[in-house]
Symmetry: C2
Subunit: 405 residues, 2 copies
């Protein structure tokens, strides 16, 4: 509703967008083909192309050897170096950085390791900015050419102000306004977005979700989070909390026992943090398992990597734990799939290290319960999915903004 009224300028900006998008996605392409595909007249395409050439968004890249006879076409190509994108991903155990072009290619990457174990300090933030500047310098890109900086962060972020709202691990950052600082630093637009949502966008545009209009990405890592692409677009919910399923309730809890309530949360049932916690406890209580062979001397140092090795080695205890994980997760995925009628669920996070022996039984279990098939796959882009998601929405942002008014 109130979708602003039309005037000639609107036509132009729509057509500028459409042609740019087409050249970017299908280029190099001739004016004639653009006209055919978009059902625009040849003179219009020429006029709009002139406009784009003048702006530097599109370039002529010589003629192509013709198949038949006739004047050879002048090929148009998207100038991917028209601007650059910086993507920052705060997910996981370090900060990932990447500089990319407007085609979504990673040009150079970097990372910042937290200065203080698993907590992010204020100083880390400035290290990040320093690193980005270095990366840009290495690629000879001046700061002004950075069109968008996209920051993926855990928790819920206030989009307007740029402040974190709930991210215990990043407590020190709470008083930093990422948006403001980045805007100042690079004179560019800043997009701040939930890290899992970015991953899902990444998978949907470049990864396992290509071609699907509805999909759910679920990240099983230290914690659990999900994100959705609904009708081709990221769905963030009324309060930007869609997919925040850490408090999803498994099984029906007994409200008369509030002290055991937490045991019903998805974060307790499925997160790797919880899993490893249980393993340690069981070992303490005398549970036998090969897992100790991979981490001798000290139970307390056991990690999920050790667990994976033990599973691979066929350790009965770890296999049993995996089976329970599959069991619990299957019910959750079935319910999500039913509600949203999902064709595809993409699973990401460290859990993917469990490989085939995890996802295959999960597939079977889920599809035994849903009436319509739901395909389950692991993330294709892995740890890079957030970065790619950042590129994807940054590109959309740039395109939307280029021709507005």
């Amino acid at each position: 509703m109130k979708g602003k009224a039309g005037n000639p300028k609107l036509i132009r900006s729509t057509n500028l967008s459409l042609i740019t998008e087409l050249v970017r996605k299908q280029g190099p392409i001739s004016r004639a083909d653009v006209a055919k595909i978009l059902k625009l007249s040849a003179p219009s395409v020429s006029s709009i192309t002139e406009h784009l050439l003048a702006m530097g968004i599109v370039e002529e890249v010589g003629t192509r050897d013709l198949v038949g006879s006739g004047r050879p076409p002048i090929m148009l190509s998207f100038n991917q170096y028209f601007g650059y994108i910086v993507a920052i991903d705060l997910a996981g155990d370090k900060i990932r950085l990447a500089v990319g072009d407007l085609q979504g290619n990673i040009l150079i990457e970097g990372e910042v390791i937290f200065s203080f174990s698993s907590k992010i300090m204020k100083d880390d933030f400035f290290t990040v900015i320093e690193q980005i500047k270095q990366l840009l310098q290495q690629k000879n890109i001046s700061s002004e050419k950075v069109k968008v900086v996209c920051v993926g962060t855990p928790g819920i972020i206030n989009k307007e102000t740029g402040f974190f709202q709930a991210a215990p691990r990043y407590k020190e950052w709470n008083n930093i306004n990422i948006r403001q600082l980045m805007e100042q630093e690079f004179q560019s637009d800043v997009i701040v977005m939930n890290d899992i949502n970015l991953s899902v966008i990444g998978e949907s545009r470049y990864g396992a979700g290509k071609g699907f209009t509805n999909l759910l990405g679920i990240n099983i890592d230290v914690g659990i989070g999900a994100g959705m692409i609904i009708e081709g677009k990221l769905y963030e919910g009324s309060r930007l909390a869609a997919g925040e399923v850490g408090y999803w309730v498994c099984d029906t809890p007994n409200h008369d026992e509030p002290e055991s309530f937490h045991k019903h949360y998805l974060d307790y049932r499925l997160s790797l943090h919880a899993l490893i916690g249980k393993v340690k406890q069981d070992l303490q209580n005398g549970q036998e398992s090969k897992i100790v062979d991979y981490c001798p001397h000290n139970f307390e140092k056991i990690t999920f990597e050790h667990f994976c090795k033990a599973v691979e080695a066929g350790d009965p205890y770890c296999l049993k734990m995996t089976k329970e994980l599959v069991h619990s997760l299957s019910v959750v995925l079935v319910n999500m799939s039913l509600l949203l009628d999902l064709e595809l669920i993409v699973i990401g996070g460290q859990i993917t290290k469990l490989g085939y022996s995890f996802i295959q039984p999960l597939r079977e279990l889920v599809n035994r319960m849903v009436p319509l098939t739901t395909t389950l796959v692991y993330s294709e882009l892995g740890e890079r999915s957030g970065i790619y998601g950042g590129f994807a929405i940054s590109m959309e942002h740039v395109m939307d903004k280029l021709f507005e008014d």
Copy 2:
């Protein structure tokens, strides 16, 4: 993508739409005000208005007494009798019919009772057509003026062909192509859609969901079904099965006991069919309850109405059953709310007859578990929600179609 290229005609059709919508929603309104609101120039508005007057979609309804000085405006009003809508709702235990205008007003209603208890026979369908013709006649509306017929049906419907895909109760209708027959009968467009989705649209446009962009409607009746409005639009899912949560799994089932698996389905846990089934069984097994006072002589004839009366009367057994219902449902709603970050859930179906003593504890329980408030309300439109939903999407359909090309 490939959102068709712009040309002057596109502007015109957009502006025709926008002005029509505005006049419909805010009318009577003057040309001057239309120009102000849509930020269009006065001559444009006049030209477009002329167009609409000529089409008969909009009418001049005399001048309004002016507040200050100046030429008094000519008020424009939407001609709600430009066309008519027929809405048919096959939900519940009878077939509801309504004829409405393009403003969404019900002009006349009717219903068809199934000829054979709870099963719908082929003949019922022709009774429906007969009834509609009578209603139209009573209101002196010629068939040609019917722009859209909207049919809400249970189960999943193939939108292209108009055939049912899964609706056991309507088995006899399986070989009837509703779309085709209605198209022939009324020479109008036919929309066939899931009944619960229609209800949700109704509530979101005319009822409890007005003003919300994201909401879930859950219908608890003989069976259980849900529908969603996501970003203001109905979400139907990749295979039109979104919200088909009858097989939602409550609690983690034991896959080694396939015979008891059905006990985990939402339909088993929450549907009124299942509830009354359990009540009968418990009574058989000697359970004491006041419910028998409301339906003496024969357990087998107990209905949900009797159950409601017993709850109202404070019967301990029925209260206990209600509590269990609340308990189970709360977990389901929490999980749906978390996944979609819902501000509002609208509960419909016969369950609403339980009133405050059902919804209030449910509200408390749900909001004890979700981090962000989820408002729970009963359907405002009740049994009419589907009809209103039919009007709503029919109107959208008419508007979309009026100015295309």
